[in-house]
């Protein structure tokens, strides 16, 4: 059949650049509006990653300029380590070129696609080459490149390369021109703000078509860059094992120990014993069948989880709280960093925070900030495991209304850090529904939910008690008046009652049958320490308990007691006399004190 030959003649290889040019939505370049955000995101991710590796406090400068009605120029500049001139064309002009793809550790970018895709998108919409300036140190010259991508080959094309007189001693700058609009400015600013929240060690400044936004760093601590680790035996697939064995020069025993995380002498022995393979054989020589048996054996032996503390870099509770407080001025904010967990052999850490009140919107759904490896996720909130987990929590049990998401002045932050964040698509908008991850998110937020509930309850309770007391006190005088009218007597002094109800400190003097009683009742919720002063013509030397001090002024005695009274308790002193004179207390705020002389009433 001639048809097969005809078909064969049409078949040819497709370059990965062509593929992504056609499928640009996969990388987050669906629309010009979105493309601008994706570009800035990719550039900032690269800058932050590079600074982290170089252990430099990041200083990032973003500029967006409208050139014509439809054309925009984006520039992102950092103080990172720079890129050696020979590598610049590949980093920016070739898709699938990078340093982190084969490493197992947390990093923002991983695939070596992002920034070159931005270059591809720029040349597709305006045809203007990307401009890159980079310098790797004060002792090296800076170089300027104008770059394009040869789509059909996925290879860089250097339009210009020259030394450049740059005032920076080290760093990288990229400039791109797009067709697009600034329609998503709000979202862009959010992106910068959220990035600042989870990167408290970074300073980000942005000039968005003349509008200046600055996000200062909160912390001067340099982040220790996560280190790459070997793969974990539980997360490995047959194909990978086969490839690793093929390039190994070790015997199988050594291969297991050096090639994998957390495999020690003992566990390697166990694995080999179960698989029935001699440890002295070369790994390279093992047949597919042997490797399959070995892989099965590796799953059976107990191996500790991967060393997350090495390869992961959580933001930490303190830094999250600082970052949120700076940007949102909250009434309440708490964060949780969970212990590292594993899914399919990949270590991950979930961090979460809840904020309440402050500048947050009083109504409507909670503000949800999602992050993966310190990168904000701005799109596809509905498809994200984070949203899923939040909607699955019964927020009503924390006295928070809920309509899928919680409702009210609430901010929810969730950060998933992993050597391999499972995104739902290459545009990295949403985290896939991995049960292990959702469970961690749920546990972290439930824990925080309980704390938020306590906070709200306590606040409400205090306010309520105060309101209630005030209401009662407004009624008591009316009762006194009416009751007095019925019994045809003058109205009683109700200030001690008010003191009691308003939870004040009430001092009373009352004389009955020749005995004067001086009492102080502490209706507050805290213990108090006060001085009781009694100025009277009665001799108070016989008072029980005895005053701490008595002073005689003319015909008057000035007695002083220094006393401590527990909450809801009373102190009382009595002495013989006629009750002439006055009392007072000190050591309590004037607003909290009620002094009544009941001898003066009748």
């Amino acid at each position: 059949m001639a048809i097969a030959e005809k078909l064969a003649s049409q078949q040819k290889s497709i370059s990965v650049a062509e593929f992504f040019e056609k499928n640009k939505h996969l990388l987050g370049f669906d629309s010009p509006t979105r493309g601008i955000i994706t570009t800035i995101k990719e550039a900032i991710d690269n800058s932050l990653d590079a600074c982290e590796e170089a252990e430099v406090l990041p200083d990032i400068w973003v500029s967006i300029t409208k050139l014509t009605k439809e054309t925009i120029r984006i520039a992102v500049e950092d103080n990172g380590p720079g890129i050696v001139p020979d590598n610049v064309p590949y980093v920016f002009g070739k898709l699938l070129y990078g340093s982190r793809f084969h490493q197992i550790r947390q990093s923002r970018g991983q695939q070596g696609i992002g920034i070159s895709a931005a270059v591809l998108f720029a040349q597709l919409t305006t045809g203007v080459p990307a401009r890159v300036i980079s310098r790797t140190g004060a002792d090296k010259p800076a170089y300027l490149f104008d770059l394009m991508i040869r789509t059909e080959k996925n290879e860089p094309e250097i339009i210009r390369k020259e030394e450049y007189n740059w005032d920076r001693t080290h760093g990288t700058r990229i400039e791109l021109e797009f067709t697009g609009s600034l329609a998503a400015k709000r979202r862009l600013i959010d992106y910068l703000k959220y990035t600042a929240v989870v990167n408290p060690h970074a300073r980000i400044q942005a000039d968005i078509d003349g509008e200046w936004h600055s996000f200062e760093r909160v912390s001067d601590e340099i982040i220790v860059s996560p280190q790459a680790i070997a793969p974990h035996p539980y997360g490995i697939e047959f194909g990978t094992l086969k490839r690793m064995a093929a390039i190994s020069k070790d015997n199988v025993h050594e291969f297991l120990i050096t090639g994998f995380s957390r495999v020690g002498l003992k566990s390697a022995d166990q694995m080999l014993k179960i698989a029935g393979i001699k440890g002295t054989r070369k790994a390279k020589g093992l047949s597919s069948e042997h490797l399959k048996t070995l892989l099965a054996a590796m799953q059976e032996v107990d191996v500790p989880p991967p060393p997350a503390s090495l390869c992961l870099s959580p933001i930490t509770e303190e830094m999250i709280v600082q970052g949120l407080e700076k940007e949102f001025e909250l009434d309440f904010v708490k964060a949780r960093t969970r212990k590292a967990q594993v899914f399919s052999g990949h270590p991950f850490i979930v961090e979460a925070a809840i904020g309440y009140g402050g500048k947050l919107d009083q109504e409507g759904q909670a503000l949800l900030l999602r992050f993966a490896n310190r990168v904000p996720l701005l799109y596809q909130q509905g498809a994200c495991a984070v949203t899923n987990a939040i909607a699955g929590i019964n927020w009503r049990s924390y006295n928070i209304s809920q309509q899928s998401l919680p409702i009210g002045p609430i901010l929810l932050l969730v950060h998933v850090a992993s050597t391999n964040v499972p995104f739902t698509s290459e545009s990295k908008d949403a985290i896939a529904a991995i049960p292990e991850i959702e469970k961690e998110i749920t546990l972290a937020l439930q824990d925080l939910g309980r704390e938020l509930k306590n906070f709200i309850n306590k606040r409400d309770r205090n306010k309520l008690a105060e309101d209630r007391a005030r209401a009662v006190c407004s009624i008591i005088p009316d009762i006194a008046t009416k009751v007095a009218e019925i019994v045809e007597l003058p109205p009683p002094d109700i200030s001690p009652i008010e003191g009691q109800i308003m939870r004040r400190v009430v001092a009373k003097k009352k004389t009955e049958d020749g005995m004067v009683g001086v009492s102080v009742t502490n209706y507050t919720r805290k213990p108090i320490e006060v001085m009781v002063y009694s100025l009277s013509e009665d001799n108070q030397e016989e008072a029980v308990p005895k005053p701490d001090f008595i002073d005689v002024i003319g015909s008057e005695f000035n007695a002083v007691w220094r006393i401590t009274i527990e909450p809801e308790s009373a102190w009382k002193a009595t002495y013989p006399g006629k009750g002439r004179g006055t009392i007072d207390i000190r050591g309590v705020d004037e607003k909290m004190k009620v002094v009544v002389d009941l001898d003066g009433i009748y």
């Binding site: 009624i475 008591i476 009762i479 009416k482 009751v483």
Partner: protein, 362 residues
């Protein structure tokens, strides 16, 4: 309504409530009042008087919440108003007092219910009835038809009335203050009190009163205080047996209970309102199947009410436990007029004579 000696006692008891509060406040205490707890769990059978009364459980209301403070304030205003009304020998309805409270500023009643509750509280504290406060009930008294001769002291003088010979077919309407009635004479073997007007008219049309020397009494649903007081007095003073004829559903059993056992709401008035000797003639749940009566399925509310009755101490007798359980089992209820399905005369010729002789009255 001007029996000054009785009014003086009433006034003193009312004022003493205010005096207590005054004392509390003068001593620096938040004013409070203690009342018996008014729930089913706190009514007890008093063997001496054979009625159900409030037990010893008390609830103290202290003015340290806005609600309680306001309650005490309103109580103080009511006490003040009643003191004055007694002074002036006037009377009024609860509704009128509710409107008078318009002038009481914050002590103004939010709803009629509130003033009713408050007056009940005062009845309990003073151990006096609202009639003693010169508060007239709004509710309508029932009607009586039968061989009873009485004298009513009205504001226009005494009226002697025979409840068969001097009244129309609608009978003699019981006035709101039964204390003004003096019994002159009677020729009755028993009193039959009925829930519905239809049954009352049926017995009259069929000459049941004449045939059996019966006093017919139309309860008009849940009986008014005056009706209950009238039954109590006829039973007590004249020694006439009382039987109660209602629909066969939980709400009607409560009508019976309020007459024979006293109501939870008015347990403090049991001594004067309750007729412990009153007996339930029907419709009994067992009648529904025995007489194959037209019936309705119990609603959820009915079932809940029946179950509540099972926990009601007043109904804790062999008879009622049996009947209520039976009804829950068959899941049906019937009205008293349902006997009409067996013919208009069936109730007077068959059912009632049979039941009355079972009960040893005929």
């Amino acid at each position: 309504m001007a029996y000054t000696e009785k009014d003086k006692v009433t006034q003193e008891r009312l004022v003493s409530i205010a005096a207590d509060w005054y004392g509390q406040m003068a001593g620096g205490q938040v004013p409070s009042i203690t009342l018996p707890t008014r729930t089913k769990a706190n009514i007890e059978y008093d063997a001496k008087t054979e009625v159900w009364k409030y037990g010893s459980k008390g609830t103290t209301r202290t003015a340290n919440s806005a609600k309680s403070a306001l309650h005490i304030l309103k109580m103080a205003y009511v006490v003040g108003f009643l003191k004055q009304q007694l002074n002036e020998s006037r009377s009024s309805t609860l509704r009128e007092m509710y409107y008078i409270s318009e002038g009481w500023k914050r002590a103004k009643f939010a709803a009629q219910d509130e003033s009713n509750m408050l007056v009940e509280d005062l009845e309990i504290v003073t151990k006096l009835s609202r009639e003693a406060f010169h508060l007239r009930p709004e509710e309508d008294g029932a009607s009586i038809y039968g061989p009873l001769h009485l004298r009513e002291q009205t504001k226009r003088g005494n009226r002697d009335i025979h409840c068969q010979e001097n009244v129309g077919e609608a009978g003699y309407p019981i006035p709101s203050n039964v204390e003004n009635i003096k019994f002159l004479d009677h020729d009755a073997s028993f009193i039959i009190a009925m829930e519905t007007g239809g049954m009352y008219a049926r017995l009259m049309e069929n000459g049941f009163d004449e045939e059996h020397n019966a006093i017919l009494l139309h309860l008009k649903g849940q009986p008014a205080r005056s009706t209950r007081r009238m039954l109590k007095r006829m039973n007590n003073e004249l020694g006439i047996p009382v039987v109660i004829f209602t629909d066969g559903d939980p709400w009607s059993y409560r009508i019976f209970a309020s007459i024979a056992y006293g109501s939870i709401k008015a347990a403090h008035m049991s001594d004067i309102l309750v007729t412990p000797a009153a007996r339930f003639i029907g419709v009994q749940p067992s009648d529904i199947s025995d007489y194959n009566l037209p019936s309705d399925t119990l609603t959820e509310g009915d079932t809940a009410a029946l179950k509540a009755i099972l926990t009601d101490p007043r109904f804790d007798t062999e008879y009622w436990r049996h009947q209520i359980r039976l009804q829950l089992e068959i899941g049906l209820k019937s009205e008293q007029q349902a006997f009409a399905s067996r013919g208009l005369d069936y109730v007077t010729k068959e059912y009632l004579p049979t039941r009355l002789s079972e009960m040893g009255i005929l």
